[in-house]
Symmetry: D2
């Protein structure tokens, strides 16, 4: 996607970082926010045996957690400073087992709107020097304004 | 749903319980398997500040994790003993903030199949003696046979 | 679902019927609106060879068309008279081939909201005196107000 | 996507074209198959008042019908000659009203598999010399072998 997004709030990076730091679950999962660009977010987590399902792979719900935050914050970068972001719904497709040393979620805005945003997420497993796509997400986010 | 499901494996409860115990992430999230019936599963977690998003509610990805396990094991109860269960995809809708003292996920098989199963999940928040529906899931599961 | 929905517009039946009559595609598909209740809609179509895919079954997209209208109008019954209804997204699961003499879509509101509604749809094939569930839908609808 | 797909059946174009011609609904909708490449399909329809919803835009279900065929046949190009293709589920997001002179659906395989394929679809409206993305789809397809 070569379209450029214009953030409405010049301090979007600070705003996203602050909110991310308030997501206690990100700390619990040892997730790190590694990139914050207009309409685009990257979050990383290391492999952790404590987050696995019965076959030793990262549980699909944990992949969802990371991708949902990436998709949500991607939308949040484009919202005005007074908005909060809310996930309305998302769908994930699991393409391969989440096996690897560490994992990256990329979230990108596909369609910004006044109140409704659509973001897409990808979840990559990094192993033996290679990245492999293991899951994809499509999510609908909403800008919510306090009254 | 008044249709009765007939499990192919009489020991389905043991098989599900054993697999659940192997999901390390369930221990990490303090999730408990509270009901295992043919085509139906209930999993419970207490409220934990360590699992919250920026507003202090349980993160949607954590709700997904619990619902995905509930939907997957609901399908697993109906699979033959030599099958493994794999989530292909799921979609969740977030209806209300996940605020409460504890939370229940119900997973139910909507359509069993030879290889493809469709399950539906509901996520309830329990607060002040009342249960409130906070999220729903539809998921597609697959029975996988080792070759 | 035993919860009762309270329509905001006492003339919701007229409003839904008028809008349905304006959906030219419903006429093209020979679809009939057979029930309009608060939060609930039923639409019927006969089997038509002109609507089939390569195996002679009703094409999944046509089932979607009928279910989407059923889900959207189910939400529309609960909206105030000045609102328009817009589908934001939907997901369908195909459970069985859409084979039969005629087909019914039921749309029901799962969660009403100020602006965002979640509806669920079911698509039944009627053959040899029996109804068979062939597809399910979950959709997110929005109440849009002209400014 | 710079990955190259290798079709298993050298006659995949003929096989897809023949199956498309058997989808009576494509004729009914005046849809034309305009591109068949390994893992990629393009289908076009003109604007038709007979396919509209209450505001005069193409009904979301009709967009779904075209995208579903594009996604399904994209997967079908990569399947062996003895396989049939079946849609298990799909999700669409509606990004803008489907207003225009004609419409294109692009379907692309995101992940091929032995039995399960994931495809992505886009629906563009062409108006005043420009293409506008109006909807996206993610679908899961299955290769089915007669026994």
């Amino acid at each position: 996607m070569n379209r450029q997004f214009e953030p409405k709030d010049p301090d979007f990076k600070q705003r996203v970082t602050r909110s991310f730091d308030e997501q206690a679950v990100m700390k619990t999962l040892n997730a790190r926010l590694v990139a914050v660009e207009p309409g685009e977010i990257q979050i990383e987590i290391p492999y952790q045996p404590s987050l696995t399902q019965q076959d030793g792979f990262i549980h699909a719900g944990i992949s969802s957690t990371i991708m949902d935050s990436a998709c949500g914050y991607a939308a949040f970068t484009l919202m005005p400073s007074e908005a909060r972001v809310l996930t309305i719904e998302f769908k994930i497709n699991l393409l391969a087992p989440a096996a690897g040393e560490r994992f990256y979620a990329h979230g990108r805005v596909r369609k910004p709107g006044r109140s409704v945003f659509v973001s897409e997420g990808e979840f990559y497993a990094h192993a033996d020097g290679e990245d492999k796509l293991v899951a994809t997400m499509v999510g609908t986010l909403m800008a919510v304004y306090s009254r």
